[in-house]
Symmetry: C2
Subunit: 134 residues, 2 copies
């Protein structure tokens, strides 16, 4: 299977698949004309990578997960530990974003948003008193 077909099947851009080969995540065969040739096994791996990346695992996490996936003797505890760690990072990021959201929407609420120059958002960013005037 050519890279275009593979890309359509797994949802990853062809460029990304080539990049994954570059960094050794996947090693497709080659046909006589030099085209990459993806087998069913390769497609499984690509789908795996697509899902793992979609869940926010880093490339290095994916490399580890792939090797665990291929190691039929792995302990599921290892995978679970990685997933838990990743969940922690996700929670952390969500909280960060929520804090930004809270602060910024507070500022937005205070801003009438008209043609006048007085702007509580800029005042807030400048560290000034945002409760004044607006």
């Amino acid at each position: 299977m050519n890279i275009g077909q593979a890309s359509a099947n797994c949802g990853l851009p062809a460029k990304t698949i080539r990049y994954y080969e570059d960094i050794g995540l996947i090693l497709p065969d080659r046909t006589d004309n030099g085209y990459r040739d993806f087998s069913e096994t390769h497609m499984h791996k690509l789908a795996f990578l697509s899902r793992a990346r979609g869940l926010g695992f880093t490339i290095e996490d994916c490399r580890t997960l792939l090797s665990l996936y291929e190691d039929t003797d792995r302990a599921s505890a290892d995978v679970k530990a990685m997933a838990r760690e990743h969940l922690d990072k996700i929670s952390y990021k969500i909280n960060e974003l929520k804090a930004m959201q809270a602060t910024l929407s507070e500022l937005v609420d205070k801003c009438h948003g008209d043609d006048r120059p007085n702007c509580p958002i800029l005042q807030g960013l400048a560290g000034g008193n945002t409760t004044s005037g607006c």
Copy 2:
């Protein structure tokens, strides 16, 4: 004020401040010995940048916000529009992360996490049926 002091005051690493100068966000004076010299005005700008970045605005957003901040004739509507757009992006990211969190924690819940190789997390990533066995 030297860069070290400036860094301590605004919370941005000295390296970052130098980078901001590189890309033209801030233009400190120089003393005779070649050291950067930050005035009160510069410090206000740095604090502004620190807060804006802390709220997740991109560097280019910050550049625009700074210029709006310095333009006493700006319309607050312009700022509000930028902030709203940014809030949308924040919400979008939060939703993305929450979707990852939901999927991944579902998989984690299904995984007993012991020494046995059977692992619903990997099965889920592989696209297999995760409701089996575990």
